[in-house]
Structure formats: C-alpha cells, structure tokens
Symmetry: C2
Subunit: 252 residues, 2 copies
C-alpha cells in the first residue's frame, strides 16, 4: 500500500469586514471543498483585521507550520489594502511593479494608471503571478504562500490557478450514516468503539433537529476507500438494536 500523505494548508482571512460581521465569509468553505478534490486538507484558519503587525505575525506562524498558506483579502487599491506589503515584509523582500500587470492595466485603461492602480501591480521580489480569470489584477505566489482577492467571485477564479500548483495528497473519502430517531448520546458508545478501532479514520457526529425529526449524521472520513466502506458497515452493525427509526447509508 502506498504511503498516505497528508498535505496541510492554512487559510488566513484578512479583513475588518469579516471580524465586524459586516460580511459573512464564504471563502473558507469554498477553498476547503475545492482543495478537498486535490486531497489537500485545510488544517487551520485565522481571521485577522487590516493591521500590519497582526497580518505578518499570523502569516509567519502559519507558513512555517503548514505546507501552504492561502490568504484572502486586502489586495485592492485602497489604503486599507496592505496584504502585499505585509507579505513582502514577512519574507524580508521588497515589492516591485510587475511589468506584466502594468501591461495588462495599460491595455485595459489606455494608459491611465493612477497611483492606486499601481499599488495593485506590486508583487514581492521572487514571487510569481496567480492568474485572475475574472476581473482586475492577478494574485501572486511567493514561497508556499498564495495571495488571493477577498471578493468571492474573484477568489474562486484565482483558485483554479492555485490547486494545480500544490502537491496533491490522497483524496479523502467521506461516507455518511444517517441515523434517525435516537439522540447522539445513545449512539456515542458504539461510535466511540468503532472510532477507537480505526485510529487513522476520522469519525464525526453531526446532530440534526428539525420538523421531520431528530438524529445524527455520522461521517466516516479516511484516505483508504476499502477501510472507509468496511467501517461504515461496522458502524451500521454497531448501531442496530438501539431503537433507531432508520439507519441510512447516504451516498456522497
């Protein structure tokens, strides 16, 4: 059996608007699902405000610890967009105006490139561009850090150029056993017994309560399909006789 390798990514969400509640972040959820298709795990997330010291400290903590870091937000033209400056400072390099971005801007705005737009043309020395298929200037990569826009539509487009640049991992297979009519506390012991027998799998319980009844979705996650599938059967067996109204294997 090939060795099962984990590739771990941290996401650093930058922006006062997320912390104040003005904006509901949806970027993390997209990034997590998208990278999942490459077998890459989001292992940690931090959200920090538009503050230089905070951004640099978080970036340095995360990039030294995880295979990759993705930042979102703070790369626009206004004074509160300081991500590029912070990333350059974290890496101890200077920003420079990338000729390709200046060229794109010149083509688009017929030579009218003011100072604010020029801010968006800056990337750190040693960095490379991350394609932006949607609108506006590109993101960039430096070392193991990918710097993306915060606007979801643009961030999603940029991710198409990020996923393939990362070392892929073994894809996680997840299967759900939906148990209706009994509470989590009734299934906790059999769930734990099965979980302990498979330490390299992750078994989670996600309860639901609604007009149609209550119960829990038990999710088995792992990187070896046979083990996930046989563990689902083991779990279903262990849950029998507990009085559930229904035990359903949910296809993904």
């Amino acid at each position: 059996m090939a060795e099962i390798e984990r590739v771990a990514v941290a996401v650093l969400i930058i922006g006062d608007e997320i912390l104040s509640g003005r904006t509901q972040d949806t970027n993390l959820n997209f990034i997590a699902k998208y990278l999942g298709t490459f077998g890459i795990d989001v292992a940690e997330v931090r959200v920090v405000g538009d503050l230089k010291d905070e951004i640099i400290a978080a970036l340095n903590a995360l990039r030294s610890r995880y295979d990759y870091v993705i930042t979102t937000g703070g790369i626009g033209p206004t004074h509160d967009d300081i991500t590029a400056d912070c990333v350059a400072e974290a890496f101890g390099v200077e920003l420079y105006e990338h000729p390709e971005i200046i060229e794109m801007m010149t083509a688009r705005w017929q030579g009218e490139i003011n100072a604010a737009r020029r801010r968006m043309a800056r990337i750190p020395e040693g960095g490379s561009l991350v394609r932006n298929p949607v609108q506006g200037p590109p993101g960039f990569q430096i070392g193991n850090v990918f710097v993306l826009a915060g606007v979801p539509m643009i961030m999603r487009g940029m991710m198409e150029d990020v996923g393939p640049r990362m070392r892929p991992g073994a894809v996680v297979i997840a299967r759900t056993v939906r148990v209706e009519g009994i509470g989590e506390s009734v299934m906790a012991l059999p769930l734990e017994t099965v979980a302990k027998a498979h330490p390299d799998l992750s078994l989670g319980s996600y309860p639901f309560f609604g007009q149609d009844g209550f119960g829990s979705n038990l999710v088995v996650r792992g990187r070896v399909e046979d083990e996930v599938l046989s563990t689902v059967e083991e779990l279903v067996g262990a849950l029998e006789g507990l009085g559930a109204k229904a035990i359903t294997r949910v296809e993904p």
Copy 2:
C-alpha cells in the same frame, strides 16, 4: 470626553466539519454582530480541528491576549467532543459533574443518564454555567473563556447569557457612503487622505460589481458619533468631482 475603551474578543471555532467544508460557519458572523451591540469587538478568529493539542495551544494563545475568548463546538456527547477536556487542561484544573446539570438531565430523561450524557454534565473546577435556553445541557464560563455549543440555534441562545457578562465597550458607529459609477482606484486617494486625517477611525472600501453597476461602499467606523458623522461629510466632499454617478449616505 470619556476615554474610549476597546474590549476585544477572540473566537475559537472548533470542528473538523468547518475545516473540511462540510459545514459553512455562520457562528462568527452572529457573534460579531451581537457583541457589536455591546461595543465589543471581535479582534481575531481561529478555526481548529478536533485535536487536543491544537485546541489547547490556540486557547492559551488567545485567552492570554484578549479580554475574552468564545469557543464554539465540541461540547456534545460523542468521543470527538473534547472541548471541555481541553479547556480544563488549558486552565490546569479537573472536570467534575455539575450537580445542576445532572439534576436537569435526571428531570428530562427520568433518571436514564448514560455515560455519553454524563460527559456533557462535566465542567471545569472554578467554572460557572452558561444558560442554554434552547435545548440540551448548558455551556460554561471559566476565567475569561466562554464555552458554547457549535449548533447555531443553540449557540445563539447561549450568547444571550454571554454578552451581559462581558465588560461593555463603547459601541462602534458605522456609516456608509455608497459611491456608484467609479472604481475603487479612482476614490483611493481622497479616501486615504481622509483616513489619514482621522487615525482613530477605521475607513474601509468594499467594492461591488453587479448588473446594476459598480462602485464601492465606503464605511466609516468609530466610537465617537460626531466624528463619524463629520468625517462622512468630509469624505463626500472629497469624492465630489471624480465623476461618480451617485454618492449616497446610507443610513444604518
């Protein structure tokens, strides 16, 4: 003028399901808005998986740095619910079964309290209960840390008992100037000039693009109403003559 004090909270979101993308977190956004009404800022957020060492390290980093920490998730009855254990370990105390919770459970389940349910009755020595008006056992507070459920409906209910326990800050007043028909890069310089003249205000630019046009919402945030309102006028003045189709003061 009274001193304007900032009260800063960190949110620690615990759960593999958020990191994997299975679940879209909405708790942060609720907490941020809710605490905003008490003048309390969310200053940093971390999301970690159901891993003991990660939870303890993040909790200790955050509780030593911020006025308060709120955790969400990991307080259910199953083996992957380890938040209470981690919080106790972070504080160097033991968990014990709280008699009031045992009493509530006994009343509800007529004495049938299995081991999984008893797990949910444990709180750290020196902790106090956080009322759960929705369903299931309470959360708890120890020191400056509030430990809440992850299920949004339950977390929201618990927050009603958290906000009033925190020292209130000066409420942030936010006013938005909506500018249509010019891009962020055109408004960047006047925005920066106004921002630099008011270092204790936060001025952010949140661009929009849609079928109805494009532009940016410029948000002025501060704790002194007069200053926020006069800065809005200063900003509107600075934006005149840039070719905007419309400049609108958006009432909150």
